[in-house]
């Protein structure tokens, strides 16, 4: 593979390392790496792979840039808000390295398109944000025989590994089934330290580059746990499960399935999967304005109430079982949280305790701020 003089100069710090050298840089240039998501993890992954000279970089993302992304999704800038993420990312990547090809897929990865997209790449790096996509990516990688570079983050903690290599475990060997909807909060609901996906994304980029260079020991067969709060890195051994339905000795999954059904929801970030009585912000406003005898119940945490609240009784969800006596089951109650996920669990709990006139504020206080009172901040 030929490199121009400009490329030789650009990659000089690689070329003078015997572990990379011209042959390794040529491998990088010939490599085709697919990034699932241009978010918190996908940003550093794509930025470093582009800078490293990975010749063909694919990016799949159906979303547009939102203000709340900018705290950690460093591939996008303030001026990119409302632009498609793949468009914003591609522009930035070309700015970093004009010698690479960026292929954008402005679409949601689904069971219908995943195999076709993944087939065109050598390595898949997963920066998705929900369980359904993670199982989809895993199964597609196993079926197509592509290494799956995994990481996930929550608050101060992250996990990373390399799945679906020859003889190595896959994501299903580690977690055969997803948690029930609502049991494990998403970053949108529970938060994430902005630099954490940076830390884990850089680990993913490192693993992808090692896979391309065929050098070093990858995280295949190991799960790396990162605790940013204590800055401790732990390494745990993983093995391929002979009983794994996808990569085991007698696999039962031979084609992609319905992953939203498998995970019980349409993606963890969007829904809590619970079916409880709801009320929309506009309807709640109408009831409050008409003087309806109604109790608002804020089930968020104290530090969230400091940001913004719309009044009402305040009992964090975790305290509800021991403080349920503070509520009157005869009252009409509307529970709210940030986006309606935790308050749905509160409504479910209260209904199981005999409360019949309790409803969930659909979309939470963020929807209230958007639709009823734009003077309030969203978070």
């Amino acid at each position: 593979m030929n490199f121009s003089n400009e490329e030789i100069l650009r990659y000089s710090r690689h070329l003078i390392m015997p572990e990379v050298a011209l042959a390794g840089q040529a491998r990088l240039k010939a490599a085709r790496v697919l990034c699932i998501g241009a978010g918190g993890l996908g940003s550093p992954v794509a930025l470093y792979l582009a800078a490293a000279g990975v010749g063909t970089l694919g990016i799949v993302d159906f979303d547009v840039v939102d203000s709340t992304n900018l705290q950690r999704q460093i591939i996008h800038s303030t001026a990119d808000v409302d632009r498609p993420k793949v468009e914003s990312a591609a522009e930035r990547l070309h700015g970093i390295n004009p010698y690479i090809t960026v292929r954008t897929f402005d679409t949601q990865l689904t069971s219908d398109n995943a195999l076709g997209i993944i087939r065109e790449f050598d390595i898949v790096v997963d920066g998705s944000d929900n369980f359904a996509t993670r199982y989809l990516v895993n199964d597609a990688c196993v079926l197509e025989g592509k290494p799956y570079v995994y990481a996930s983050v929550y608050r101060f903690e992250g996990q990373a590994s390399v799945f679906a290599t020859a003889g190595g475990p896959c994501y299903r060997c580690l977690y055969p089934e997803p948690p029930p909807p609502g049991m494990v909060p998403s970053c949108a609901e529970g938060g994430v330290l902005g630099v954490l996906p940076g830390l884990l994304g850089v680990i993913q980029a490192t693993e992808a580059i090692k896979l391309v260079l065929r050098t070093g020991d990858t995280l295949a067969g190991r799960l790396l746990l990162v605790d940013a709060l204590s800055m401790r890195f732990s390494e745990l051994k993983l093995s391929r499960s002979p009983d794994c339905p996808v990569c085991g000795d007698h696999p039962t999954v031979h084609e992609l399935i319905d992953y939203e059904e498998f995970c019980g929801v349409r993606g963890e970030e969007h829904d809590d999967g619970l079916s409880v009585p709801e009320i929309g912000p506009a309807e709640l406003k109408r009831l409050l304005d008409s003087g309806e005898d109604l109790l608002l119940l804020d089930v968020r945490e104290p530090h969230e109430r400091e940001i913004v609240h719309i009044g009402g009784h305040f009992i964090p969800l975790g305290d509800l079982p021991e403080r349920i006596h503070e509520l009157n089951s005869a009252h009409q109650i509307v529970a709210y949280c940030k986006s309606g996920v935790r308050s749905a669990r509160a409504v479910e709990f209260l209904r199981s305790a005999g409360f019949r006139r309790v409803r969930n504020l659909r979309g939470g206080i963020n929807a209230w701020a958007e639709l009823v009172d734009p003077s309030l901040p969203r978070y």
Binding site: G40, S152, Y154, R155, Y175, P179, V184, S186, L236, G318
Partner: protein, 100 residues
């Protein structure tokens, strides 16, 4: 009584209203079952999150590790490694997260 160190994933620490590593007191042989039983007695909100409410079997989206080894497929009554049983190493409960 032996003091066993346990590390929980972030969302379970929130649920149990604890920060950082926790300890549980065990009387007798230190096994997965005795540690988890003690954990659920001390922190009732964790019931059903690590093990199934009824069967007490480990949930499929949770794994147990100690001393770098995956103990998830061991019998719940197998004694835990000596460094865990003497409190030198923690018993790790690791759970699936999906944030990106």
């Amino acid at each position: 009584m032996i003091r066993i160190r346990v590390q929980l994933p972030a969302h379970l620490r929130t649920l149990a209203h604890v920060a950082g590593e926790i300890t549980v007191q065990i009387d007798g042989t230190v096994t997965q079952r005795s540690v988890l039983d003690a954990l659920e007695v001390n922190y009732p909100t964790l019931r059903g999150t690590i093990r199934d409410h009824i069967t007490h079997r480990r949930r499929a989206f949770v794994r147990f590790f100690a001393c770098g080894e995956d103990l998830s497929l061991e019998s719940p009554d197998t004694p835990l490694p000596e460094p865990v049983a003497t409190g030198r190493e923690p018993f790790l409960v690791v759970g699936a997260i999906a944030g990106g």
